[in-house]
């Protein structure tokens, strides 16, 4: 079954067509890769799915519901969340506060209950704090709980951003270049982490990355974009031997 479907999606910025009639599906429970040369429109697709940009033409459905041009926070509530190419944490807050802030999908106490600190607020706050600590435990960040996010080493900042995304209990997680700036060792760790997350949290993942060993290693399906158009789609082996993909990445012989 398809979790996410993009039908004929186009995005234009004035005269520039960043994404041009792309059709694309993500199967439930899969890890899908999105690759392409710089400026191919990969991050634009993420921005379209999460509602940061408005779609010019076409339709995006998630879990059978139309999410085209919904506000980002609504889409997040429905179960799609993401990380950013240039990490966007709540920099001045602690690791724990970063996760706790996003941990709120089943806390529904009102503003007045909060201001008067009524029992329902107390009970739900306690649950949220437990959830946040559990998640930090799973992600191996619990011993750095009180660190200020900005002071974490780069690799852990990436990990914290994934932890924050997971605290929304998403069905679909979009990772925008999670391995950027990582050495081969860290990349291998990240690969393990991503497959772990899928099993533990029962979700589907879409990854943009330029590390071919990562993308080819963990993705079951890959889509290749070039100049905003879909160039190819298939399993890693099909993509590696596709002449059009090789041409886009390496150029034509002679």
């Amino acid at each position: 079954m398809n979790l996410l479907e993009m039908k004929n999606v186009t995005k234009r910025f004035g005269g520039l067509t960043a994404v041009s009639s792309v059709d694309f599906e993500i199967e439930k429970g899969s890890i899908t890769g999105l690759i392409g040369p710089n400026g191919a429109g990969k991050t634009t697709i993420f921005n379209l799915i999460t509602g940061v940009y408005k779609v010019t033409e076409g339709k995006i459905t998630f879990d059978g519901k139309d999410i085209t041009n919904k506000e980002p926070y609504m889409i997040a509530d429905m179960g799609i969340t993401r990380t950013f190419q240039n990490i966007r944490l709540f920099k001045k807050l602690s690791v724990y506060e970063n996760v706790l802030t996003a941990c709120q999908y089943n806390a529904n106490y009102s503003l007045f209950e909060a201001m008067l600190y009524l029992p329902r607020c107390r009970k739900q706050e306690k649950q949220l704090k437990e959830q946040a600590e559990n998640l930090l435990e799973i992600m191996g960040l619990i011993d750095r709980k009180d660190f200020i996010a900005n002071n974490l080493p780069y690799g852990l900042q990436r990990r914290l951003e994934i932890a924050r995304a997971l605290s929304l209990n998403p069905k679909l997680l979009l990772l925008d270049e999670p391995a950027a700036g990582m050495n081969p060792d860290e990349t291998a760790q990240l690969m393990n982490l991503i497959s772990d997350i899928r099993k533990k949290f029962d979700l589907s993942i879409l990854i943009i990355d330029h590390h071919m060993d990562l993308v080819m290693g963990i993705c079951e399906k890959i889509m290749v974009l070039n100049f905003g158009c879909k160039l190819a789609e298939g399993t890693p082996i099909e993509i590696q031997s596709n002449p059009k993909v090789i041409e886009a990445y390496l150029g034509v012989e002679g």
Binding site: V52, Y73, A76, R82, F84, T101, A114, Y117, C121, A165
Partner: protein, 294 residues
């Protein structure tokens, strides 16, 4: 207590009430407002109208003033909070000045001449009680998920949206609560001065409030309390220097901004836990230094 000292404390308390509201908006949600004197004016004139023209008791009159200020802020917010960048700040500046000019011309409230004969209901006891309630409510709010959402909006808007936070809604809630606090401050002021004049709510009042919030430290309720007490009483303590006192006041603000740009408290709070931590840190340091000597 000396009536003079009492007067200074009441004025500090009135300022504190407005500063607490502004602290939520500026310190915790990251929105700057230069129109909070306008919300004070709306709260003050509404509360005074309730007690003078409708002979209402003091507390309900204050609450109606707060609701009026909050209602007006909702209209301003709905129109301007979707704008990016500093436009909200400029809109509040315009709103504050417009409110003052409109009141200058409303003869029902005495116009520019002012409005005397408001009953003197405000005293030190009710100012202190109201401020304590206001601080407790605000502290509870900030510790809750709603408060965390506001802080998230201050830190990183896009990431907040992706985390499922309705940025516009939380900005609006913050503004409305903030305006309600300012409205109560206005009501307290009207019933302390027993006289209202639009001039009391000029731009300088708004900037004074913002200065106090920044002086005390953005993102700290304790800082706002400290800032309101210090900066309201400072010009009075310095009265002996007559004309030079406002220069000293200005210097004090500049020195704090240069030596401690994060403000007096800089995001920290006075709580039993934080005090304990501070003392144990100090003890630890002293132990270390004495060990070093041996």
């Amino acid at each position: 207590m000396d009536a003079y000292i009492q007067g200074i404390l009441i004025l500090s308390g009135i300022n504190l009430m407005a500063v607490l509201g502004l602290s939520l908006l500026t310190g915790f949600t990251g929105l700057f407002s230069f129109g909070h004197a306008g919300f004070m004016a709306i709260g003050g004139y509404t509360a005074a109208a309730m007690t003078v023209k409708y002979h209402m008791p003091f507390i309900p009159a204050l609450l109606i003033g707060a609701i009026a200020a909050s209602f007006v802020s909702a209209i301003i917010g709905a129109l301007t909070l979707k704008l990016k960048g500093d436009y909200f700040c400029i809109a509040t500046l315009g709103f504050g000045e417009a409110t003052r000019l409109i009141l200058d011309n409303v003869q029902y409230f005495g116009g520019a001449r002012g409005w005397p004969g408001i009953p003197a209901y405000t005293n030190l006891t009710n100012v202190v009680i109201i401020n304590i309630i206001a601080i407790v409510l605000l502290a509870n709010l900030i510790r809750s998920k709603h408060g965390r959402n506001m802080i998230a909006v201050r830190e990183e808007e896009l990431a907040s949206q992706i985390a499922g936070i309705n940025v516009f809604k939380y900005k609006l809630i913050s503004l409305m609560i903030s305006a309600a606090y300012a409205g109560i401050a206005g009501g307290l002021m009207a019933h302390y001065m027993t006289f209202l004049q639009p001039k009391m709510f000029a731009l300088t009042k708004s900037t004074e409030l913002t200065i106090i919030v920044i002086f005390g430290g953005l993102g700290s309720i304790s800082g706002s309390v400290l800032g309101a007490l210090v900066l309201t009483s400072l010009p009075e303590i310095l009265r002996a220097f007559s004309n030079w006192r406002l220069v000293i006041y200005g210097l004090a603000v500049i020195i704090i901004m240069i030596t401690r740009p994060e403000g007096l408290m800089g995001g920290y709070e006075f709580t039993p836990q934080s005090m304990k931590k501070l003392f144990s840190n100090l003890k630890g340091k002293r132990l270390k230094s004495s060990e070093g000597r041996e």
